[in-house]
């Protein structure tokens, strides 16, 4: 890979020639505002907030899509660029509900944050706002298209990362919107990757509504219990109740989760959930018991069967919800403890 030398804000930098101007800037600690750029996705170039000035070019260019070239002189912050960014934000907010008071995304909204940074209220260019009254009836993902800024991140992550292509840009111009085929209710895997990359409140979890945003919310880093993949998750809880699951983009799973990990948490407080072992008695009824008693009960039966019928009368089936380590221990128990090779796993179809 060849290296090129460019200057950003007067500072000379030597960077690989396959970077964009924004990537080069970011690597050297220079942030450039943007809404449509996402490191996991191919650049889009639609929001126009990341414009920078390049010496010799007549108009500002989008730093997210422009590759670095030898000798390029870039300026990321000038009064004129700031004016441009304010202009774009004014336009976006002129077509936005601006109901941050009740918006789920408040506090974690990139648009809100930029508006705050630039002191833009969206009052300069009043005009028609898109109104979409139809509510998507899917069970997991709230799609509030009036808050959508058409950054395309959801379309891209659905296509480039998840490979599902459940949504795409539809229509054009002011009427452009992100849509499912024939504008049906969303019918996909509901992995919620789209929700995780949405920079506004256009995509949120239906389960989250009214449960809490920031105030009084405690975040706990943990591992998803659903399967052996072991995705890192952040559990958001308020008043000792899980109100949302998310995942940090810098986690090893890069913030990606599946429908179970992201939206499958209500089981935690389900009244049907087993929290103590049960033993079925002769009467046929289940009886609550302690873990010690339950394990003793099982080991007694295993021993009895092995003595009477031999170890191969016993087999073990493990679960994909267990980690590799747990599965290892399980086969060890069967092979070394019980003495049989009858061991298998539900994911081995």
């Amino acid at each position: 890979m060849a290296m090129v030398t460019i200057t950003i804000n007067g500072k000379a930098l030597t960077v690989p020639d396959n970077l964009t101007v924004m990537e080069a800037a970011n690597r050297h600690g220079i942030a450039i505002p943007n809404l449509c750029r996402h490191p996991q996705l191919t650049p889009f170039g639609g929001c126009r907030l990341c414009v920078v000035e390049v010496k010799g070019l007549p108009r500002p260019i989008a730093s997210c899509t422009t590759p670095v070239t030898e000798g390029m002189e870039v300026t990321t912050m000038t009064p004129r660029l700031e004016e441009h960014r304010r202009f774009v934000l004014e336009l976006i907010l002129s077509d936005h509900p601006n109901d941050c008071m009740t918006c789920q995304a408040t506090g974690s909204c990139q648009l809100q944050e930029l508006a705050y940074t630039y002191g833009v209220k969206g009052e300069r260019y009043p005009g028609e706002r898109r109104i979409y009254s139809k509510r998507d009836g899917n069970p997991f993902i709230e799609r509030d298209l009036e808050k959508c800024i058409l950054c395309g991140r959801c379309v891209k992550i659905c296509d480039e990362v998840q490979g599902v292509e459940a949504i795409d840009f539809g229509y054009r111009g002011f009427k452009a919107k992100i849509t499912t085929p024939f504008e049906d209710d969303l019918d996909c895997e509901f992995c919620g990757q789209c929700v995780s990359v949405c920079p506004t409140g256009a995509l949120t979890g239906k389960l989250w509504k009214g449960k809490g945003r920031y105030e009084g919310v405690r975040e706990t880093e943990t591992v998803c219990p659903y399967c052996g993949t072991g995705c890192n998750i952040t559990v958001h809880a308020r008043n000792n109740e899980i109100i949302r699951i998310s995942s940090k983009p810098w986690a090893w799973n890069e913030g990606l989760l599946c429908v179970k990990g992201r939206f499958g948490y209500p089981f935690v407080k389900s009244p049907e959930r087993l929290t103590k072992p049960l033993i079925r008695r002769a009467s046929g009824n289940f009886e609550e018991t302690s873990w010690t008693a339950a394990l003793e009960y099982v080991s007694a039966w295993l021993k009895k069967i092995r003595e009477e019928r031999g170890p191969d009368a016993i087999g073990g089936l493990s679960s994909a919800r267990c980690t590799n380590e747990e599965n290892y221990l399980f086969q060890k128990l069967l092979r070394a403890g019980v003495g049989t090779n009858n061991v298998d796993h539900c994911a081995r179809l």
Binding site: E165, D168, T179, T180, P181, F182
Partner: protein, 153 residues
């Protein structure tokens, strides 16, 4: 319908399934793009239905609803505009009782198509009734032609 769609699929399978060409052929065959066609293409060619819908709603040529059997085409090009195409179009809309964005009459017989420049600029404004060109049109001419069309239906 199914067999015609299968034909289209086979024709396009070799070329890698160009969405626009496929939709153009579909519209040519049915006058519009039926939902079932998109769903079948998607299943058979392994191209997401969302892509078809995105393309179909992007281009002005594509229609997702059946069109009227008869078509009144009004040119909205610049030359027609400065010679009063607007007035003619509102006259046609009044005559056909079309409200707002509605483009097909309630009985589904006549569709008013507003198109970009047709290249008859020297004869502006131009109105086509079922393909027959009426140059230097006026509201009266347009309405007369629609009345004639109605008589024939």
């Amino acid at each position: 319908m199914e067999s015609r769609l299968r034909e289209l699929i086979e024709r396009h399978r070799e070329t890698g399934g160009n969405i626009i060409s496929l939709l153009q052929d579909t519209q040519e065959a049915f006058g519009y793009i039926p939902r079932d066609a998109v769903m079948l293409f998607s299943r058979e060619l392994g191209i997401a239905a969302s892509r078809f819908y995105g393309v179909a709603t992007f281009y002005a040529q594509f229609r997702l609803k059946p069109v009227g059997r008869h078509k009144v085409t009004a040119c909205c090009g610049t030359a027609c505009h400065v010679r009063g195409a607007d007035r003619i179009i509102s006259g046609i809309q009044r005559e056909l009782h079309l409200a707002g964005e509605q483009d097909t009459t309630d009985d589904g017989l006549i569709t008013l198509d507003k198109v970009a420049c047709l290249g008859f600029c020297s004869f502006a404004p131009v109105v086509l009734v079922d393909g027959a060109v009426h140059g230097k049109a006026t509201t009266d001419i347009a309405i007369r032609e629609i009345k004639n069309l109605r008589k024939k239906i």
